[in-house]
């Protein structure tokens, strides 16, 4: 029982960052229909930003996270304008290929600049864990958990309570109608990609210090983010949040009680099962036909 609860605590912390990754991608995927393979690279980008600002430049750790989020936003906007805008009418697989190209360039660019050796980021948090009875959590993880929840809240507010969010939702529902209603689709797409990217960078900025920062960190992040989005359903922030926690639980429980070798298979098995039972993801309304 104690072991189980420890697994639950682990899963909650892991899930919060998965959710952050998932939300960014679900916005991009849902609204723009771009299979964004570069999402994981923005995650890595955020982590490297923190490394650059807090370790190399020696500035405040919390400030470096803010820098990472803003830089992610900018880079996202740039990618959108340069790579995606000219491809607006292309097929989903053609834009996907462009994003794969961007992924290859960014990943190897990171390695070229920073080298292959993983970097670690020290934080102002004490290394000794919080211990409550038989349970134990590091204070950095707790910070990450609450920061992630805060960012999820901000994203939720942005989408549901602001004018921009309303326009984004309208575009998600029906791009043509939204455009007829006077919504500037170009701007919405840019904003969507920028916000999605900054959320990915935020996830990287938070997790970089927890793990280590390396050029390859983006690969697994992309794959997990896709899994989360599919679990939650396209374009659903609530869905992506729940999907993130679900994936984390599946992995924890799978590794803890079934087989650690199949830990990463758990998420994928759930996806396959979910899609076979409810092909539109768990929390999305079905798309319209025609």
């Amino acid at each position: 029982m104690i072991e189980f609860l420890q697994h639950v605590i682990n899963a909650l912390i892991l899930g919060s960052t998965y959710a952050l990754l998932g939300i960014g991608l679900t916005l991009i995927f849902g609204i723009m229909r771009v299979v964004n393979f570069a999402h994981g690279e923005l995650y890595a980008f955020g982590a490297y930003c923190v490394y650059l600002v807090s370790v190399l430049m020696g500035l405040n750790f919390f400030f470096s996270i803010l820098v990472a989020i803003l830089a992610g936003c900018l880079l996202g906007a740039l990618i959108e304008v340069i790579l995606l805008r000219p491809m607006r009418n292309a097929d989903i697989d053609t834009t996907m290929l462009v994003m794969i190209g961007a992924m290859i360039v960014m990943q190897n660019g990171e390695q070229y600049i920073w080298g292959g050796v993983a970097k670690s980021v020290n934080t102002p948090f004490p290394e000794a864990p919080f211990v409550i009875g038989p349970f134990s959590v590091s204070s950095l993880s707790l910070f990450v958990f609450f920061a992630a929840l805060l960012l999820i809240g901000v994203a939720y507010f942005l989408i549901n309570r602001t004018k921009l969010g309303k326009a984004m939702r309208a575009t998600f529902q029906d791009r043509d109608t939204a455009s007829l209603m006077g919504i500037n689709i170009q701007r919405i797409y840019m904003a969507t990609f920028a916000i999605g990217s900054s959320l990915a960078a935020a996830a990287g900025a938070l997790l970089g210090p927890v793990y280590v920062v390396s050029p390859l960190m983006g690969n697994i992040a992309s794959l997990k983010a896709f899994a989360i989005v599919i679990l939650g359903g396209l374009g659903s922030i609530g869905g992506a949040t729940i999907g993130g926690f679900m994936l984390a639980f599946a992995e924890e429980i799978g590794a803890g009680y079934i087989s650690s070798g199949y830990r990463d298979a758990m998420g994928f098995l759930i996806i396959i099962a979910v899609l076979l039972v409810k092909p539109t993801g768990l929390f999305a309304r079905s798309e319209r036909i025609g």
Partner: protein, 344 residues
């Protein structure tokens, strides 16, 4: 002229071992050829039925493992204490079984996953490939997991008592790969230019309309998946017996991406597309290696990919065809896609 072109191309390829004696380049042709076969199989799904399978490497890997295990033999205990012992069989049966088992997996995956479309289908196929990879990694008794299957025998053709021909030399392996390329090309060509191919194109274009004239969606999607997976499995078998070692890295996501790049840059939905794209992206690393730093080679690879997609979004082959039709004013427009955007 266009009719002759495949024959001319075949003659040129067939002549390569006669004048190219550099084993390194011949090696590049063989591995590129193997990936071209895989890309051609992917093109059947992606280019003709419009379904993007990002788990295609699973079939490639399944073919590779099946073929290797057929020729190496194995001894595993299944759930319930059932022990399965397989004595090594002649190597060519591995190629056949690799193709069949991959095709069977294509059938199962097709039956299950064609219930979803678009982005969902993409993710289901990625998930499938990851699960297969993890099984290959963790079912150590059968696959040796990360310890790799080694000493895989070279491909041989023949029957007990009748003598064998082995494809040990690079020249002979080149012709073996070329033969499989040709067989795959013919199979795909015949399918595409038949009512089966028309049914696939109809499904890609407008599924509701296709079923309304009596085309059974699932049947043709599954058929495409079976043929496609089978051909990918054959490519995997060729890979295993050429490299003579396989481990779960054969399921690298990068390999799927390589196939997709070959298909899309060459021109999806065209017969020559994967071959042209395959040759280009098979040889970029060879060329880039001679002058660029390792990371820069990759960066160039990525940039070149983006460039091709930007300049020729339909791919190289349709663009070249367009050039020809624009000159000769042929009857059939070669690049239909270019005009879709204008339609209501």
């Amino acid at each position: 002229m266009t009719r002759l072109f495949p024959w001319v191309a075949l003659a040129v390829f067939a002549s390569i071992p006669l004048w190219l004696h550099d084993p390194y380049l011949l090696n590049a042709f063989i591995t590129t050829g193997i990936f071209i076969i895989a890309a051609m199989s992917l093109n059947l799904l992606l280019g003709y039925t419009g379904q993007l399978s990002l788990g295609h490497v699973a079939f490639f890997g399944i073919g590779a493992y099946t073929s290797a295990l057929t020729s190496l033999g194995f001894d595993v205990e299944l759930i319930g204490g059932l022990r399965v012992v397989h004595e090594p069989w002649p190597v060519w049966t591995g190629l056949v079984l690799g193709t069949l088992v991959a095709g069977l997996c294509g059938y199962i995956v097709g039956k299950l996953s064609f219930r979803v479309r678009g982005a969902y289908f993409v993710i289901v196929t990625i998930s499938f490939a990851e699960v297969v990879r993890l099984v290959a990694l963790n079912w150590v008794e059968l696959t040796q997991g990360p310890l790799a299957l080694t000493s895989i025998p070279p491909m041989t053709l023949g029957l007990p008592g009748l003598g064998y021909f082995d494809f040990y030399s690079k020249q002979s392996y080149f012709y073996l790969v070329l033969a499989i390329v040709v067989i795959s090309y013919v199979i795909i060509r015949r399918l595409v230019y038949s009512r089966v191919g028309r049914a696939m194109v109809a499904l890609k274009e407008n599924e509701s309309l296709a079923v309304s004239v009596g085309i059974d969606v699932t049947r043709y999607l599954v058929l495409a998946a079976v043929v496609s997976a089978g051909i990918a499995g054959a490519a995997g078998s060729l890979y295993a017996h050429y490299l003579k070692i396989i481990d779960p890295d054969v399921f690298l996501f990068l390999y799927t991406i390589t196939m997709v790049i070959m298909v899309i840059t060459g021109g999806k939905g065209t017969l020559a597309g994967p071959i042209v794209g395959g040759l280009i992206f098979g040889f970029i690393p060879v060329v880039a290696r001679s002058f660029a730093a390792p990371e820069v080679q990759w960066i160039l690879y990525g940039l070149f990919m983006i460039l091709i997609v930007f300049v020729l979004p339909q791919g190289i082959v349709p663009a070249v065809e367009n050039l020809f039709t624009a000159r000769s004013k042929a009857e059939f427009p070669a690049s239909p896609k270019a005009k879709i955007q204008d339609a209501p």
